[in-house]
Point group: none
Chain length 352, copies 2
Amino acid sequence: MINTITGNKDFIEFYRGKKATFLLALSNTKTNEIPNLIQTTSSELNHLISTINSEFLCLGEVRSIQDDKNYLKYVQTSALITRAVHTLNPYSNIEILNLGLQVKPKLSYFKTYDFDMKESRRIDDGANINALEVFQKAITFAQKFECKDDYIILGESVLAGTTTAKATALALGYDVQDKFSSSFSNESNDIKQSTITKALSRINKNDDVFSILGKVSDNMLIFTAGFILGLNNKIPIILAGGTQMACVLLIVNSILKQMDGRIESSNLCLCTTTHKNDNKNSNLKSIINMCDFKVNSYYANFDFSLSNHPTLKLYNQDEVKDTTAAGASLVYGYLNGLTQEQITLRVEELLT
Amino acid sequence: MINTITGNKDFIEFYRGKKATFLLALSNTKTNEIPNLIQTTSSELNHLISTINSEFLCLGEVRSIQDDKNYLKYVQTSALITRAVHTLNPYSNIEILNLGLQVKPKLSYFKTYDFDMKESRRIDDGANINALEVFQKAITFAQKFECKDDYIILGESVLAGTTTAKATALALGYDVQDKFSSSFSNESNDIKQSTITKALSRINKNDDVFSILGKVSDNMLIFTAGFILGLNNKIPIILAGGTQMACVLLIVNSILKQMDGRIESSNLCLCTTTHKNDNKNSNLKSIINMCDFKVNSYYANFDFSLSNHPTLKLYNQDEVKDTTAAGASLVYGYLNGLTQEQITLRVEELLT
């Protein structure tokens, strides 16, 4: 049920039965405003999707969209999976990282870290991020961070985040053109490619890593890279996601190269969802292998083939998208005894 | 599965997956000796019910009644529910508060706090409690109490406790005549009302809160009010129960009024069982709302409709009574991934 992409089974098997703190990194990039770049229920609500994903994950309800009866159609299916796992085998702790949301989630009790960041701009227009500042905030935060559990699962919700991730990886000089777009999603389209092309055209020869990131990246990617380096292998961390988290690893790699540094990465891991097409996992593998350090990575076997629910059937035609830590949550569920059937049933219950 | 009565979902959702210490407050009031006030299997054993509930909860067996084969008929169904949840998803720690038991539970290893209290007298005859002393013992205990878990669930077992609670709320001047008796239980009968009327006739105009409590209350009610004030919002606490715990909140409110004090109550919560009749929950809501401070409160959806067991079917005709923390235990179970089906099956197993 849990399969190895890179490394070996030992890391993930060691965490069987152990307790996780779940950190959810949220940010907005105005890249999501580019017409037809991403498919959502209602594009004028794009800026709220990360916010409501986090509300739904924590509470099982949505507060920032005033459409009480239909709010579920705005919540991403990945968030439903993560909520389902959380209700069946709860995370010990969920904490929110606000990395530049337009609208803060309406939560009390749940710890929300505010980093005084603004949403970033459209990357075709220059993201305009002070990347070094974001990075340094992450380093400081990681160094002070105390984990009461055995490990961290770090998930993200950033709409249009695969576009910024691909642009970032290409801008940093990694040969990922075929590995991100055509293989990892069916979203790839002319708009995505033209957005990335425009973003890349803003990069100059003399740009260092941080100025590249400031132009084509998003706050989550930069912050997460800094967080990993700040943890310095002291707290085990699972990066929850596919291409976006793989991009974070590439950023870490580029920063290390620029600084002539190294990291101990034995406590660093990536977990994602199934890709029906084997080729896709081998692409993810080859991206991760572009790093000069080693990373254990895994994917959870899961699809909605056990469901007859029309929404889930539809979802199942594509691969299971991995935002809001769906893949790592499935791994967390499997590590703690849950089955695909239980998770499917609970997602169906959430939809009723 | 968990529904909000007052406040919002955030408090209870925050405790999903977190660990609880379970404190069980036990005391006897000779009010339970009033003929026909309460229905039990064998009224001459009334003074032992709280004791054996605690034995069953901790051990799954009863020691203080010498009827080895039939002991289950003395254990209250609420205690079966709490035991079922404890075997499926255990409390980290169960500790006993002996607030004036006639017979101490026969337990080793389990921590039992002794407060050197005696059972209180029949309230129709004057309960004769040194209420200030009980209150001060609770304050001191709470101030020294160290919780190794994330929160406390405080349950109670006091036979005839709804009678003393109703008398107490009325004596303190709260307009709860219709809200306690006719709506919360089918126990309401002439004997209960005449007992309360007699108890109230002992109250004088000049009685302050503690002299009122000393006449018509029971040790658990007074102690729990003191415990809440002694904790001072520093340790999150779930009061496990319906009307009795609502009465505790009213006591806290009256003490604060008398002392011209205030409390921060963000870490104070009440959890109870389902009431089939919606009206009952709205009554509980209105009692809680009589407090000048805010309290989050919830009820667990649960009944024995999934069971064919004759005892449980019978029980199901009435609402699920909430003593021995049945309601909060159901909430605790649901927060940690249990389902109504699992709990029902386990209760059935306990009965065989």
